[in-house]
Symmetry: C4
Subunit: 260 residues, 4 copies
């Protein structure tokens, strides 16, 4: 151990030892992660640059994320394992998403979160650049009732190229996210979290639909009242949030996986 420390002190340029694997994840979890990638691409939530991950089922200190590939092309062989510092367990020369730190840092900060989506969905961009809070207009978006914070990278790191390219930036984003289920990223996109892959997929789809609905309601109302979900309604809906999710997930999965 002392020898290692001396080596480490003496030779900082030596490659860090990669983290140990938690072992194979449940094949069904891998299959669902592949499906989540394909569904979110098909549903217009993820473009070539977005990504979705899931916490390893065998070890909360590991998560699974594709190598750097457009979500619509991801297969089981592309899934890589990371520790929560977003170091790859077995890189084998594969390119990694530069913004994997979004996932690792959120998994660190939020033991309740099992799946994370990072998106550039067009529907969310406008809400990230104006002073109009995104709120739940309908029941599918009840998970937004606690508020949707806006992460403005300028406040953490001044002028940047906007990418969450290291742990510090990931931690800053996770701090803004706090206990919420989604955060907008000014001039960039959004991050959405959930206790499962089906739920993070559903939330990612419906945060976009709610954003559209709120924008249209505001236009229609032309300054008049909009009846958003009451906080108590949101609480009751969130208590049964998995309602109907299984049947929607089956349909999304079938449609996404049949069209390779």
């Amino acid at each position: 151990m002392i020898a290692f420390l001396l080596l480490f002190a003496a030779a900082p340029a030596l490659a860090q030892t990669p983290p140990a694997s938690a072992g194979p994840a449940d094949p069904k979890l891998i299959e669902d992660l592949v499906a989540a990638n394909r569904i979110l691409a098909q549903q217009g939530v993820l473009d070539g640059w977005g990504h979705v991950s899931v916490r390893h089922d065998k070890d909360p200190n590991r998560f699974l994320l594709s190598r750097a590939l457009a979500p619509e092309l991801v297969t089981a062989d592309d899934i890589m394992e990371y520790d929560l510092d977003s170091n790859p367990v077995d890189q084998r020369g594969r390119n990694m998403y530069s913004e994997r730190f979004i996932h690792g840092e959120i998994y660190k900060a939020r033991p309740d979160v099992m799946a994370v989506v990072h998106t550039h969905a067009p529907a969310l961009i406008p809400f990230g650049v104006v002073n109009v809070p995104l709120k739940p207009v309908y029941h599918r978006a009840a998970f937004l009732a606690g508020g949707v914070p806006i992460f403005d990278i300028q406040q953490s790191a001044g002028m940047t190229d906007m990418l969450i390219r290291n742990n510090d930036l990931g931690a800053a984003l996770a701090k803004t996210l706090g206990k919420h289920d989604a955060a907008l990223m000014r001039g960039h996109g959004a991050v959405i979290v959930a206790p499962s892959l089906p739920m993070v997929v559903s939330r990612s789809i419906f945060i976009c639909l709610d954003a559209n609905a709120q924008a249209e309601a505001m236009q229609l109302a032309h300054g008049g009242t909009i009846k958003y979900l009451d906080p108590e309604e949101a609480r009751l809906i969130n208590a049964r949030e998995g309602y109907g999710l299984q049947r929607a997930w089956e349909a999304w999965k079938k449609k996404a996986m049949n069209r390779q």
Copy 2:
């Protein structure tokens, strides 16, 4: 009989006897109900959580509705029979839509209605949360001329999770619907009714298109006049509402059923 009553009094936990079947429905009706599910999913009216039903052709006290499944996946084998209290005739362990009570209670209240759609269509959500009445901008939406009431579940049941999960809530919704052909459900979606499956499908598609058209007309007009359908025009159109419906239904059906 007396023995049964005593048993019933003594053992309220015993399962109620399921209602008797009205016998097999016309296979063509089942086929059309499957098609209606697929068409409405393909046309973007129904997502994984919406549903469509039809009154049984052999008995007005029964209706047909899929088991809890995303509409795009429904097949003839998934169709279940219910009484108007939304009790299943032959459940066989299949999951049921929690909101089947929407259908049963409307069939009770409206002997003229033969088909019901419950939707979360994004186009309708904004109109359910603002004080802007949805009105017919063009002839395809003439069936809205009598008005489109908004059902706000808070008025019937205070704070809830928004689901129509029992007969009382279904009856409250049916009461708001009254004699109208559609009602918006605040923060939830809408319900549309009609004297046939092809017509409820057509109405569900065109209520969405009319909502979009009205929103755009209001934007264009910027406070100026919008010429909605005259009530007499609407009456004359409604008198011939089936015009052209058969050829549209054939095309929708062909497109939806060929793409499994």
Copy 3:
């Protein structure tokens, strides 16, 4: 002849003799008419209720129009021949579009017109119900530069079910259309005309895109100036309107006909 007139006077209930056929139309014209139906359906201009026709190449007093069928399903065998009073040459029990009179009356009034589209396209509905003239925002819509009249059936016929169901109503619409290349039909849709099928298809697609573009430009400008096409620019563009049309027509046709 005199005998016929006496018969006609004495027995008005006798079926009128159908008009004589002009003989077979050029098979290529039939093929293009089928393609036009399919293209306009695929491009979202025609729904199950709209239609497109072309003047017979052998006789200007005849036109070709499908039997009453959704445009996406039309084949060569569905094409019927009509005189300009919209009487069928050889009906053979086939259902006819109730609004075929739109086509016949326009062919009567406009010897320059060789093809006609009647559409309910959603993009056009708002402009038909507000006091905002539809104008060409960009070069593809230069054919609108002369103005787009609005036909309000109330002015011709009072309260109706909005359908152009006879020659008188068709003549009223043709009168409003005048020399223009398109007219909106309040609360109904629009009619577009052109000297060829490829051009009427192109015009029908671009009147919709221009409507969207004008609506968005008005929103952006928020009362500020919008630079529409100058009348002289429009004149010069219209003089070369067929530019590039052939290559677009080939692509639309290929895409529409390969997907039956």
Copy 4:
């Protein structure tokens, strides 16, 4: 040589000698140009009238552009070679895009540009006809940070049919474009340039998405503040603009080329 000049002086009607070929381009470049055509058509950026070109890899004084064909139909055999005056090297009777001068003149004026797109994309038309500058709302559109000039052909050439049909008009457009990466063409469309085909495809897609996002942000903000990208952020993003492009390009290419 003197004989040729005398002939040229005496007989201006004689055909000019076509320019010499630079030799075969890299087959991969041709393949990418075909893919760019198909991707941009599929992504809704190019209709039947738009086009995309790339500078020849063997000679900066030549560029490659399809014959006059809708982009969705372009194959390797359709690619033609041009000099920077937009004269074809080997026309072989093939029709040429009337507006090829857009490409040639930009390649002349901009040695840094390797690929050019000319589009009529609907999302961009509104910004070309109003006094609202198109600006980068999010990181994908950072390349717009230097400004997006509007080319109004009236200022160069008075009343025209709007087509860039000769070198002078192409040069005028290139002059307005200047050092920018995109220019809007009033009442016509836009031109986008880049140092590679994948990047011009990406920029063409994201200028449209940014236009939509800015329009929606302006609506939401209703006169309030919109936080556009800071110039320094844009500079830093532009410095790493190729980030993730390869994986998006692979996905776009796969999707466009698999569906012939």
